[in-house]
């Protein structure tokens, strides 16, 4: 009860914490880019005419969605060296985040492509456009618009998930805060402050997505 809060170690560690925020951003952005690549690739494979390829994608998605990220990142951390890939914790974390986010992205992107009516494709073809043109000029933007809200919340979640990368000591906010905590024993003060940092980071992420959305998807729909 007679504990007095002391934020001095936090203030002292502020430069390190702010730098670590950049680490968190890096993990999040790189993870997202990898997730989108895996997502698009997965959707293409998911449409394959070869049934085993489709099953493989479905199996991948379900495996990732039904196991904790913490277990996934441990597994990848120990598995990569066995297949001859020696990476630092931070790139390892990016790979784990990309794989995890990619599984969710596959489902989201697939939903977006399905949400575009067949009539849009046909109208484009009837006007003499090629399939690739139809996809690029007609399907892509409405499909992205349709999935943007779910993509946003999935990517905010991915940003928060970066904190779990501290389990393999990747360079990001949580692991840096753990270091400051164990040096100062001011556990509550450190974690409370870092929680506020995360709130700001996820808010910034949401603003960023909202900015893109307002800029590129401003056309009215019914």
């Amino acid at each position: 009860m007679n504990y007095t809060l002391d934020f001095a170690p936090v203030i002292e560690g502020l430069p390190n914490l702010l730098a670590a925020c950049l680490g968190t951003f890096t993990l999040a952005i790189c993870g997202m880019i990898l997730a989108v690549i895996i997502g698009i690739g997965g959707v293409v494979l998911r449409q394959s005419t070869l049934a085993p390829v489709r099953w493989l994608v479905i199996g991948f998605v379900e495996l990732i969605r039904n196991t904790p990220f913490l277990v996934q990142i441990f597994f990848i951390y120990f598995a990569l060296p066995l297949i001859g890939v020696r990476l630092d914790p931070t790139p390892t974390a990016i790979i784990a985040l990309g794989i995890n986010g990619g599984a969710y992205a596959i489902e989201i992107i697939r939903g977006g492509v399905q949400s575009i009516s067949k009539g849009q494709m046909e109208a484009g073809l009837a006007l003499g456009l090629h399939k690739a043109q139809v996809f690029r000029l007609i399907i892509l933007k409405p499909a992205l618009r349709a999935i943007f809200p779910s993509l946003t919340s999935q990517f905010v979640l991915l940003t928060l998930t970066t904190s779990i990368a501290s389990a393999i000591s990747a360079y990001e906010l949580t692991s840096v805060s753990q270091r400051i905590e164990s040096d100062s024993f001011r556990s509550f003060e450190v974690y409370f402050t870092v929680t506020v940092f995360y709130l700001v980071i996820s808010w910034l992420m949401m603003r960023l997505f909202a900015f893109f959305s307002a800029r590129y998807f401003a056309y009215p729909v019914k």
């Binding site: 039904n66 990220f69 913490l70 597994f75 120990f78 904190s163 949580t174 929680t195 996820s202 808010w203």
Partner: protein, 213 residues
């Protein structure tokens, strides 16, 4: 991996299940109040609950567990990791479930509220008999989806130092130096818990979508 290791993992599994159930049940109860407060029509109350939800949805679960763990100690409550994690998961679940159910309550057609009012039903009867049953049905797929997320979230208790399934795996993997086998088995155990729920949720979602047509 020998018999002892397997048993150790299964004990961890037991705690994972216990944490999931406690977090979900308590989270449901607290979440119901959050959802009702969030749709109460009272500006201040709605604003406060919106803030509560935004905080829990805008910060990592891991941080929430840390803050609760050390925060409880701070206000003089001597807690072990188990209780701290249970409280943390409950708060976390209450925010997410509150938001899911708010959406569901608002998705019940306005006419239902109007008809209940016209029939002179009290607030509690209107909610209990008319709105909530419909809202819970609408929200069932999302609720199950969150339960899966919560089960996976219990793995973070291992970082706070509570020996559930993932930490049990960690300990054994350090003993026998077979991380891939151990984490593979741990992953499969989580998968066995989560996958049926995921399939059931997707099934309900399809069923409801078909009925809505």
């Amino acid at each position: 991996m020998g018999r002892d290791e397997i048993i150790f993992l299964l004990i961890g599994l037991k705690w994972t299940i216990a944490l999931s159930i406690v977090g979900f049940v308590c989270g449901c109860i607290a979440g119901l109040f959050i959802a009702l407060a969030r749709t109460s029509g009272v500006r201040v109350v709605e604003g406060l609950t919106a803030g509560y939800i935004a905080v829990f949805q805008g910060t990592p679960l891991l941080m929430q567990l840390f803050v609760v763990y050390y925060g409880l100690a701070l206000i003089g409550i001597k807690v072990d990791a188990w209780l701290a994690v249970a409280v943390g998961l409950t708060l976390h679940a209450s925010a997410y479930l509150g938001e899911i159910w708010r959406g569901a309550i608002e998705a019940v057609p306005q006419g239902q509220t109007e008809a209940s009012k016209a029939l002179a039903l009290s607030y509690s009867s209107r909610m209990k008999d008319i709105i909530l049953p419909q809202a819970l049905r609408i929200s069932l797929p999302a609720t199950i989806g969150f339960l899966v997320q919560l089960i996976k979230g219990t793995s973070l208790a291992s970082i706070v130092g509570f020996t559930e399934l993932t930490r049990a795996g960690n300990i054994i993997s350090n003993q026998i130096f077979q991380p891939l086998t151990v984490f593979g088995i741990v992953g499969i155990l989580y998968f066995i818990m989560c996958c049926p729920l995921t399939i059931y949720g997707a099934h309900l979602e399809r069923k409801f979508a078909a009925q809505a047509r």
